[in-house]
C-alpha cells in the first residue's frame, strides 16, 4: 500500500491506497471530488485533467503515488471565496457546455493554457492547445469562444488570474 501526503485544493490530505491506484480514483473515491471525470480511461479525452504543481495533467494517467508531495488543484478548487473563476463564468456565458461531461477537464486545461500564454490567445492557438480534450457533443465552437473570452478578461484584470 502506498501512503501519500499531498495538498488538494490547498488542503493537506493524507491517504493510503494500492500502489497501482490512479490519482483520479483517489480524488473521486477517497476525497469525493467527483468533478474530475473519467471519460475514456485511455489518456485520450482529457475529462480527468487536474493541475499537479501548477501544470495540467491527465489524472487517469498518473499514479497516486507519483503525486505524493505535490499540490493538486481540481475543478472544485478553482472558485475563490464563492466566486466562480473567470473561465467558469465564461463557459456559462458563452454556453460552452452541452452535456457538461468534458467541462471540468476543458476548464482545467484552459486555465493552464491561459497561464502559458500571457501574451493572449487566438482561435487557432486555442484549438491546437485543446488537442488533449475531447467534447463528444462536439461543442467546440463555444468552448473556444469561452476560452478566448476568459483570456481577454483575465488580461484586463490580471489580479483575478489566481
Amino acid at each position: 500500500m502506498a501512503k501519500v501526503e499531498l495538498f488538494v485544493n490547498g488542503r493537506a490530505v493524507k491517504g493510503e491506497a494500492e500502489d497501482r491506484a490512479l490519482l483520479v480514483h483517489f480524488l473521486r473515491e477517497n476525497l469525493g471530488l467527483t468533478g474530475t471525470h473519467v471519460g475514456c480511461d485511455t489518456s485520450q479525452c482529457g475529462a480527468c485533467v487536474v493541475h499537479v504543481d501548477g501544470r495540467a495533467v491527465k489524472s487517469c494517467t498518473m499514479l497516486l503515488a507519483q503525486a505524493s508531495g505535490s499540490s493538486v488543484t481540481t475543478i472544485e478548487g478553482l472558485s475563490q471565496n464563492g466566486e466562480l473563476h473567470p473561465l467558469q463564468v465564461a463557459f456559462r456565458e458563452n454556453h460552452a457546455l452541452q452535456c457538461g461531461f468534458c467541462t471540468p477537464g476543458m476548464i482545467m486545461s484552459s486555465a493552464d493554457m491561459i497561464r502559458r500564454h500571457p501574451e493572449g490567445l487566438d482561435e487557432a492557438t486555442v484549438r491546437l492547445e485543446l488537442e488533449g480534450n475531447i467534447c463528444r457533443c462536439t461543442g467546440y465552437h463555444n468552448i473556444v469562444k469561452a476560452v478566448l473570452d476568459a483570456s481577454d478578461k483575465l488580461r484586463k484584470a490580471p489580479s483575478e488570474a489566481a
Binding site: 497501482r20 485511455t42 489518456s43 495540467a56 494517467t61 498518473m62 499514479l63 488533449g132
Partner: protein, 269 residues
C-alpha cells in the same frame, strides 16, 4: 492494471539499486507510455521505479554550443527554454509539438528515447544531431543507441541521465502527424554543421529511426529543397499499417525533408 510496487528514487544511484532489487522492474519517467500500457495490462512490472523527482536529471545546461538536457526534463520545459531556442530552435519546436499539452507537461526526453517508439519525435533529433546518450554507466552515441522497434542499447538497469549534443549551425524538424494520435507518420530532422549534413527519419521505418543517407549526399553538394527533387525514397523497410502504406510513407518522408530544408532556408538561423 495488475498489482505493482511503487518506489520513488531520489538519486540515480538509488534508482539503480532499487531496480537491481526488483524482480521485474520498470523505470517510470513521465509515464506517458508506461502507465497507459500498464492500464491495458500489456505491461505488468512487479515494481515501478519513479525517476521523475531526481533533481540531478532535470534541466538544460548550455555552455558555448554544447547542450546538455537532463533525462527527466519534460517536453514542456524544453519547449520554453529561451537559451536553447537561440542556438537550436529545431529541438525546441520539436518538443512543442509532441502529443498534447498534458503529455508535454509530464513526458520526458529520457523516457521518450528509452522507449524508442518508432513514431516518437525525439529519436530523430538525437540521430540527426549526433547526440551522446549519457547513462549512469557510460556514454552511447545516438547512432549506436537506437537498435530497433522499442529497442535500445541500454542494458537492464541502466538509466539515461542526460543527452548531450553540439548545437548545429542550422536544423529543422518537420512531421506529418497522425491526425488522431499526433504521433509522426513521418518526421524528418535535418541538421547541418559546416559541411556535415545529417537527415534522420522517424515514424516511417520498420526498425525505428534511421538516417536518410541518399538525402544527406544530395544535400552535401546542393543544400536546397531542389536537391531532393530527384530523390527516390525506397519503400522497402518502411512501415505499412492502417494509417499509411509504405509507398505513402516514402512520399511523406521526401515531402517532410523538403519542408524541413525550406524552413531552414527561410529562417534567419
Amino acid at each position: 492494471m495488475y498489482e505493482t510496487k511503487y518506489h520513488r528514487a531520489t538519486s540515480v544511484e538509488a534508482g539503480a539499486r532499487l531496480m537491481s532489487e526488483a524482480e521485474d522492474g520498470k523505470f517510470l519517467a513521465g509515464g506517458m507510455t508506461l502507465i497507459p500500457t500498464m492500464k491495458q495490462r500489456l505491461a505488468s512490472p512487479s515494481d515501478v521505479i519513479d525517476l521523475r523527482r531526481i533533481e540531478a536529471m532535470k534541466g538544460i545546461v548550455i555552455s558555448g554550443r554544447t547542450v546538455r538536457i537532463g533525462a527527466a526534463t519534460t517536453h514542456y520545459d524544453v519547449s520554453i527554454d529561451e537559451e536553447l531556442a537561440k542556438i537550436c530552435p529545431a529541438i525546441v519546436s520539436l518538443a512543442a509539438h509532441i502529443g498534447d499539452p498534458q503529455v508535454r507537461n509530464m513526458g520526458t526526453i529520457g523516457g521518450s528515447i528509452a522507449n524508442n517508439d518508432p513514431a516518437a519525435d525525439y529519436p530523430s533529433s538525437m540521430l540527426a544531431l549526433d547526440a551522446m546518450i549519457i547513462t549512469n554507466e557510460r556514454s552511447i552515441p545516438a547512432s549506436d543507441f537506437f537498435v530497433g522497434l522499442f529497442e535500445t542499447a541500454l542494458e537492464p538497469g541502466e538509466i539515461i541521465t542526460a543527452v548531450e549534443f553540439i548545437a548545429p549551425d542550422r536544423a529543422a524538424y518537420k512531421k506529418f502527424p497522425n491526425p488522431a494520435s499526433l504521433y509522426a507518420m513521418a518526421g524528418v530532422f535535418v541538421a547541418r554543421s559546416g559541411d556535415v549534413i545529417r537527415v534522420a527519419v522517424t515514424g516511417a521505418g520498420e526498425n525505428g529511426v534511421f538516417r536518410l543517407i541518399d538525402a544527406e549526399a544530395a544535400l552535401a553538394s546542393n543544400f536546397s529543397s531542389a536537391a531532393l527533387d530527384s530523390l527516390i525514397v525506397n519503400p522497402d523497410g518502411l512501415l505499412s499499417d492502417m494509417h499509411a502504406s509504405a509507398d505513402y510513407r516514402a512520399n511523406l518522408v521526401k515531402v517532410m525533408a523538403r519542408r524541413a530544408i525550406a524552413e531552414i532556408a527561410n529562417r534567419p538561423m
